[in-house]
Amino acid sequence: MSAPAVSAVAVGDSIAPLSRRVTQDQINAYAEASGDHNPIHVDAEFARSVGLPGAIAHGLLELGILAECIASWAGGNANLASLSCRFSKPLLAGDTILCTGTVIAVDDAEGIATLEVGATSDRGDRVLTNGRATVRLSR
């Protein structure tokens, strides 16, 4: 699958949303893969002891799911040029994350689309905010 063509992308286009339930097993797997074993992610009792409602997903796991959502639309990881966001609210183990994105600018000359992106949880929390991504388009 190749990148969307510049001529086929317009401001206001939405990308296909991605919904995924994030389990404690998945968080544990991410801790192993990333080397981030902070107990707030893998030990619910510890997380509660520091004021959290339970074990929370790594922000970078959420960002990884958002990146996958964008890369699916972009035709692959290689076409995702940048991604940024704020980790505004925690995503708890067992929550479902919903990632979305909308094209807000298209640079025809550079072949770059800028997207406003973000994610919410099924608790209604906006977990990833102020999100921006840029995608390399094809000619």
Partner: protein
């Protein structure tokens, strides 16, 4: 506790290998119950392992900065990937403290980081991070 005197402090982690197995494990962890879209590739946010993580470990264990890990929150993150990194690549990673601010009983530590592939001098990732330490400086 971090303070303004630490701005400009740099951390260097040369020789980070993009281990194909580690990249695959991260892709699987991100995918969770779903199939991995690019099983032979490197997930973009694997930058957490080769670009952000190594210098961050140095920062967290820097006794002169003295970050309290128990109160640490990852507030913001940005990544740019000018050139895609490949499995097996070796990259040199570095980071610099670019800002420290205390307000509302919290300390905000800003970092800029970069990973360069020395084989062709390509910047494969650059980014910024905001770490929030509960407890004022």
């Amino acid at each position: 506790m971090p303070d303004l005197s630490h701005v400009g402090r740099r951390y260097s982690a040369p020789g980070q290998r993009i281990d194909p197995g580690s990249a695959t494990r991260m892709a699987a962890a991100i995918a969770g119950p779903d199939p991995v879209r690019e099983p032979d590739g490197v997930p973009p946010t694997f930058a957490a392992v080769y670009c952000l993580g190594p210098p961050l470990v140095q920062l967290f264990t820097d006794p002169e900065v003295g970050i309290n890990l128990a109160g640490l929150i990852h507030g913001e993150q940005s990544f740019e990937w000018p050139v895609q990194v490949r499995p097996g690549d070796i990259v040199d990673s570095s980071a610099e403290i670019t800002g420290i601010e205390s307000r509302r009983g919290m300390t905000f530590v800003r970092l800029a980081m970069e990973a360069v592939r020395p084989a062709d001098q390509a910047v494969v990732c650059r980014g910024t991070a905001l770490m929030i330490v509960r407890g004022a400086a």
